[in-house]
């Protein structure tokens, strides 16, 4: 079973700087682990495709957050 997060997620919504900051940090952690895994997993390992997908999705989320920040 996976661990519970240490704190309840801060209540907030997009446009709230504190909330966005925390969210950005969390996604940065996901991307960071994906980067490390991609350096370690062999090119022909089928798991690699899964990690690439995770990386892609997290990067899109970060880009969306950035656009959101700029449009506010």
């Amino acid at each position: 079973m996976s661990e519970r997060p240490r704190d309840p997620a801060p209540c907030g919504r997009l446009g709230d700087t504190e909330f966005e900051h925390t969210l950005r940090n969390q996604i940065a952690i996901v991307i960071g682990y994906c980067d490390l895994l991609l350096q370690e997993i062999r090119q022909d390992d089928p798991l690699r495709r899964d990690v690439v997908e995770m990386h892609k999705a997290a990067s899109t989320a970060i880009a969306m957050l950035r656009d959101q920040g700029e449009s506010v």
């Binding site: 900051h21 940090n25 940065a28 952690i29 960071g32 980067d35 490390l36 350096q39």
Partner: protein, 454 residues
């Protein structure tokens, strides 16, 4: 064995800390993480971090304040800031405060890897520099003299070649360059190393006592000569006599010294008996002795007799690449002398020492580091520690008259001096006239005469 460098990571996100640990551990670092900036700051003194990765935005204390505290406690520690919200103003502030870099999240691991490995190389380079057991350092030293620059290595080579043979040598170089050290090396590397090395500073002896100092006297030779006295030549028999500041030797003594060098015999003042001595003479001067001889102020024949081999010690500003090694050696010496835990200097302090003019050469550098070590409080001399011990920067030397400049006639010296004072007073003629001891009208006339337009 060298210890692993210590990386301190401070971020309020535990996930980010775990990620950094996962990355930096295999990269060769011992990693200590802390989720609270406040707590990390309270423990800074006990954590000798080499590199710190600090989050810019944390709930209790901001990353810039942590950066300031680290610069204060561990000036040699390289700090990298991280942020999820890159902003130009905080980036500029971070660089101003001496941060190594400013990374945005998600972290670019390639860049972080480069930063960590360059920081590690720097730590290793400095550790090797500070290690007294460093083999290379000893191989490149000459009897304790430090000089890795090409000019110094050439000089050391010359010393090694002449030391077994030369009967006389002349060491030239500016004040504080280490002429006596070279003379000692000639003695140490020659066949006389077991015998005495005696020194006399020719500028510190009263003219009337020179002869007695060098050649000795017999009882009753002159008023006050109540005992027989052995002169330095006799005392140094079989060894080496170092005549420092030979340019200051009075003319009458120059003639007698020449005779001793030619005949190999000394005669005590008041005695008719000559005594054979076998002394190697190394003389040193900061003057241009050849020019002095040509101008008739120094005996030509004595100059040629001493100048069998001339060894020129270059000024420190012409061998700046030696400064880090000299600094490491002096810091080691003074840390031991004052029983301080000082291990080295910070990067910015080293830069400051590399850039200084050093008119007093190695001796001045040594004095500055002695003062800095005496006053130092931490493990590492900071820019501030060094700065307060450096003499105030003199006005730019370019406009100052120099003895070796081509125009040394009175008229051009006067012109140069007026220009120098005007420069020091930033063109203010009233102040310049006062400093020169002239009325303003006289100063204007001189400006006109020398064709100086301001």
């Amino acid at each position: 064995m060298l210890r692993k460098p210590l990386l301190l990571a401070i971020d309020d996100e535990p996930g980010m800390l775990a990620l950094i640990q996962r990355f930096a551990g295999p990269a060769g670092f011992d990693v200590v993480t802390n989720g609270s900036a406040k707590d990390a700051m309270a423990r800074l003194a006990e954590l000798p971090a080499d590199v710190a990765l600090v989050d810019l935005r944390m709930p209790d204390i901001g990353g810039l304040d942590v950066l300031r505290a680290i610069r204060e406690t561990h000036p040699q520690c390289q700090v990298i800031l991280m942020t999820a919200h890159a902003a130009v103003d905080s980036a500029i502030e971070a660089v101003k405060l001496g941060a190594l870099d400013y990374l945005s999240k998600p972290l670019d691991f390639d860049r972080l890897k480069d930063l960590l490995s360059s920081a590690r190389e720097d730590i290793e380079r400095r550790a090797a520099l500070l290690s007294a057991e460093n083999e290379t350092a000893h191989r490149l030293e000459l009897c304790g003299l430090i000089g890795r620059s090409t000019v110094m290595q050439e000089l050391f080579g010359l010393v090694r070649r002449i030391a077994p043979h030369a009967r006389a040598a002349l060491v030239t170089g500016e004040t504080g360059t280490g002429k006596e050290g070279i003379a000692r090396a000639i003695h140490q590397l020659g066949p006389r190393r077991q015998r005495r090395f005696l020194t006399i500073n020719c500028s510190a002896v009263v003219e009337t006592l020179f002869e007695s100092e060098l050649f000795g006297h017999v009882r009753g030779a002159f008023t006050g000569a109540t005992e027989h006295k052995t002169g330095l030549f006799e005392a140094a028999d079989g060894g080496t006599l170092f005549l420092d500041e030979i340019g200051e030797l009075p003319a009458a003594v120059q003639a007698k010294l020449l005779r001793v060098l030619e005949s190999g015999e000394v005669q005590r003042v008041g005695s008719l008996q000559a005594k054979k001595v076998d002394v190697r003479v190394v003389a040193a001067t900061n003057r241009a002795l050849r020019e002095e001889a040509e101008a008739g102020r120094f005996r030509n024949d004595l100059y040629f007799r001493l100048n069998v081999v001339e060894l020129h010690v270059p000024p420190l500003r012409e061998r700046r690449e030696d400064i880090p090694y000299l600094v490491a050696a002096f810091v080691r010496e003074f840390a031991a002398k004052f029983q301080k835990p000082v291990e080295g200097v910070s990067l910015t302090a080293e830069r400051l020492l590399m850039m200084a003019d050093w008119p007093g050469n190695v001796r001045e550098l040594k004095n500055v580091l002695e003062r800095a070590c005496m006053l130092a409080e931490g493990r590492c001399l900071t820019e501030r520690d060094v700065e307060r011990c450096l003499p105030a920067a003199p006005p730019r030397a370019a406009s100052a008259p120099s003895a070796s400049s081509s125009g040394t006639d009175l008229r051009s010296l006067e012109r140069q001096h007026i220009l120098k004072v005007l420069h020091e007073e930033r063109g203010n003629k009233r102040a310049a006239a006062a400093k020169l001891g002239l009325s303003r009208r006289t100063l204007y006339r001189r400006l006109e005469r020398h064709d100086i337009t301001t």
